[in-house]
Symmetry: C2
Subunit: 305 residues, 2 copies
């Protein structure tokens, strides 16, 4: 069992009503790798520039993550991202992405990596690059792609094609509506699941997540957090936890997919308790398991026969 | 078992992207009474003006609803409400409420009614009137009050006092944040539950509902509706289904409260499938039970020991 994680490793500046961080470790692949490594060995494939600080790299040097695929590209700059969140946390101003190396660089796998990765968690990137990664894997058990509005706006046909090659697709609510062209989340999720991947996860932020496949529909609640510090990376922490758990199961059944969604919701709920991936850096599997059981307590109700 | 339902019986004009109705039966008490009557006998206490059409009154003449408490006030006009919903259904323009008789009229109970009603579902109204109703009940098993932004803005101290007298309070998300003065739904719900009623239900629209009491926290998902026709009255249908079910249970336990929330979510999910209360007028208990079981299918996941 080994999970490939690709996406951005970045330097972030974030401000929320509860504080601010600058020149902080960030990026989609960072959050997904940290979350996934709670469940299964992770191989991180990403690029940074010559300016990527050693102290940020040091945070990724962990027993569960193989960073031999983290490439430093000479003459390039690390991608940077800055955002300010407002009081209700559902709105943010993105100050800038400084695109940097993560945009130009095409992730590729060595033959050894392509043969050994059993699952792949592919964060937002150009859909053609995502598809190439999926196709380069020798015998993947499950693959997942995430996306962002940029690619829906600029590469929708490629994205739709990539969705047909992936097992799972994660989108947020507005993306689901936009790709499907339908106002109902349920209808959009079912439409997307019918038109390509095995399963579509619609991330609903603080309200949880909905999952649709051809045969199943599942709703996971949002964990009732009292102190959300920074929502950055929650979706990536979800993706990493979801695929990381799936990498460990004997068989990928509808019941296991539901459990994976709760594990993803759990890792995401921890992620937002600190700035960027800071909470994920200290998170332990026992904490994940305890909150998983809490999710059950939060949602259980009796059905009379 | 008998449930008192008070609130507005009104005449509505509603426009959504899917159509429009004019001079249609509406009002909070109408929706709550129809939903509640699927579970338990309802006594409706409300006022209309001399202009209230016989054909609207006829819709309320049903085996499960006693409308002897529906008063026609001479020289008065029925309350009217008009709204236009936008494409995403979470936003609406309220054209007008024509306040009418429902605003001035103070609901009172006959001694027989005060003695015989075992539960009370008290829709939005002035908190002092709501409190008077609760206090006039001889031996209520459970009471519930709903509110609207108007009373949070203009009678917050009275509302807080009323919340201490009610067993259950329903609020929507922004109301919960506003009354508690806290941005987190979970924190606001727990704060409100600690400061007065036995339980607080935060209605989350299409995302479902959250319930907080001193000892419990429960999250019910939104039913994944593909065709929402008109959200008007969903909260009232929730309240009616919730209290209507609770009126029938042997003992009001945390487990029964959770079931009541799912029944409330179920009746609300049907309500939005038609304009105003139209779907509730044809709804059968078997349909409610089938969807209740679907809620379980939608949310169930395994927990390994």
């Amino acid at each position: 069992m080994t999970m490939l994680v690709t996406g951005w490793v970045a330097i972030d500046d974030i401000e929320t009503p509860f504080g601010a961080v600058t020149n902080s470790l960030g990026g989609s692949a960072t959050c997904a790798a940290l979350a996934g490594s709670l469940f299964t060995p992770v191989r991180l494939v990403a690029a940074v520039g010559e300016d990527f600080p050693d102290e940020l790299r040091a945070k990724l040097v962990r027993p569960g993550i193989d960073i031999s695929g983290l490439v430093t590209v000479a003459g390039s700059k690390t991608s940077r991202w800055g955002a300010r969140y407002h009081y209700d946390m559902n709105n943010r101003d993105t100050w800038y992405p400084e695109m940097g190396i993560s945009v130009e660089w095409k992730p590729t796998l060595t033959a050894e990596m392509a043969a050994s990765c059993t699952t792949a968690c592919i964060a937002a990137g150009h859909p053609v690059d995502q598809r190439n990664l999926i196709q380069s894997l020798v015998s993947p058990r499950a693959t997942m792609v995430d996306t962002i509005k940029l690619f829906i706006d600029e590469a929708l046909d490629d994205l739709r094609e990539t969705m047909r090659h992936a097992d799972f697709v994660t989108v947020n609510e507005s993306e689901a509506r936009e790709i499907a062209g339908m106002p109902s989340i349920a209808r959009a999720a079912r439409f997307l699941a019918d038109s390509g991947p095995k399963g579509v996860i619609v991330k609903l932020g603080e309200y949880g997540a909905a999952f649709a496949s051809k045969d199943d529909y599942f709703i996971a609640p949002g964990y009732p957090l009292e102190n959300v510090i920074d929502p950055t990376g929650a979706g990536d922490a979800f993706a990493g936890g979801f695929m990381g758990y799936l990498d460990t199961v004997a068989e990928i059944t509808p019941a296991e997919i539901r459990q994976a969604i709760i594990y993803g919701s759990t890792t995401a709920s921890f992620a937002v308790e600190g700035f960027g991936p800071s909470r994920l850096l200290t998170l332990r599997r026992e904490e994940v398991e305890a909150r998983y059981r809490e999710f059950r307590m939060l949602t259980h109700f009796e059905v009379r026969e």
